[in-house]
Amino acid sequence: MGFPHTPHERETLVLSKYFGDTDAIGLDGWRKRGGYVALEQALKMTPAEIVGIVKESGLRGRGGAGFPTGVKWSFMKPGDGKPHYLCCNADESEPGTFKDREIMRWTPHALVEGCAIGAYAIGAEVAYVYIRGEYTEALDKMNAACKEAYAAGILGTNAMGTGKTVHVYVHKGAGAYICGEETALMNSLEGRRGNPRIKPPFPAVAGLFGQPTTINNVETLVAVPHILTNGAEWYKKFGRPDNPKSTGTKLFSVCGNIQKPGNYEVTLGFPFKDFLYDLCGGPLPGRQFKAIIPGGISVPIQTREEAENTPMDYEGFVANGTMLGSGGVIIIDDAQNLVKQIARAARFFAHESCAQCTQCREGTAWTTKILERIVAGDGTHEDLDTLLEIGENMTGKTICVLSDSCATPVTSGIQKFRGDFEALIKRKKVHMVPAQVA
């Protein structure tokens, strides 16, 4: 198993402090490191008080959308007579993102604690942790942690001796990117195909099993115990002074053609250039960054020049024409065939489309076919126009955003690296593919 890198001095270790510390995995070790103090404290508070603190801290969803967590929790109305549910989205499947995996591998009890607090805060007695099936190690660690927590009376019908009921159950996915979409996750948990649902109704009104439900990302939930222990003010201090909308620390996964890939925890607003060159060691010897995808493969691709001057927070990336997304930074250097990589990204989405919406089912596959044809040397200049139009047809018109996500790297890729596409088209093979009339 890969161990994490030695932390860089400019990282701010809150969530990742115990990554690599094998003693932190078990309950005893975790308790020695301050584990479950926040839960004990939380169970003595009212749910409204917890929600208030989280709201005040400015914590925002770390899964991609960045919705304020406290506000999301406040949509739930404890005491409405309905069963409430918390779903922890541990389906981490956005290419380029592998931070939740590390959280669950090294600090599973942190997530159990975060889930327990979250469940209590929204009036739920049950939290389900939906972990993608490929994360076998994370699944083992989380199952073991839950078992320990039940045995120690932390979870169950008398959680920490308070008489309150808090269950945390691990649910294993079975291979579907789309189950990271919250309504698809709920369908999957219910034993259905992982099809996203039409909204409204929103999960807080009718979610899992038709009941009020909140879905939070792993990283979001593990931040909560720290906020309760240290206070909202403490958490708010992390971030750009001139941007109060993005607070706290954030784990960024870095991968691709870079010296030191891995998970880095920095305060939001950290300068991206320093991050790439200082923390992550810059490009491989003799190479240059060519394209950077800063927030998982679904966000707009950027040139090196565009990307480097971004402050790494929600607003910073948006102002620069892309998104923070899941915080999965993918680096593609100048030795790569960029068009091939964009085609590969499109193939990913074609493989993962749930098949409900026409534009997504057909558009992802069509996009892939055209791109792969261009890569194979059978492309035409018209293909680029067609790709852009397909991209337009795939954007903002479907139930969920998988379709948009497929169009994003393609459209932004053509816009920013058109020369790469045209070079492949000009190098066209001599033989022609007979045109099939569609």
Partner: protein, 180 residues
Amino acid sequence: MTHSEMGGVRAPGDVAHAEHGSYTPVFTGERRKELDELFTRYPTKMATLLPALWIVQEERGWVSSEGMAEVAELLELTPAYVKGVVTFYTMYHQHPVGRHFIQVCTTSPCNVCGAEDVVNALLRHTGCEELGVTSPDGKYTVIEVECLGACGFNTPLMVNEKFIESVTPATVPALLASLG
């Protein structure tokens, strides 16, 4: 498409992937208890569908039509419904696979770091030659898989339930040797 390509009509009752011989139920003894315990975790029986299918796959190595039918009956669903779910998720095997089922991530982040070379090395050294085809000795099946979520440790792959990171073409022979 030409008319001749329309092909024959598949008759109802064709059994695509049936287990040979008579089917022995999976959910007896401990496995049945496990399922009963799962029932207590969810307000519906249907919600245990994914876990129940995992149990079938753990026991049998794959999910056969008979396995789907057994799960359907226990969960009060129809076999067709279960089939719809099984075919949605890529991790359920709908036919038997090699003893070592190797899934290599080749999605973009791993692809830029040479994942396709790893795939080629695996195909060569296992004797599988082709993706998805089980090697002649029945030991290996190699497939490409979409993002395994270990993008910083490329190339990652899974051998059955075991996760292996940082595989390169050079480390493939030793890796295969370690599998036995």
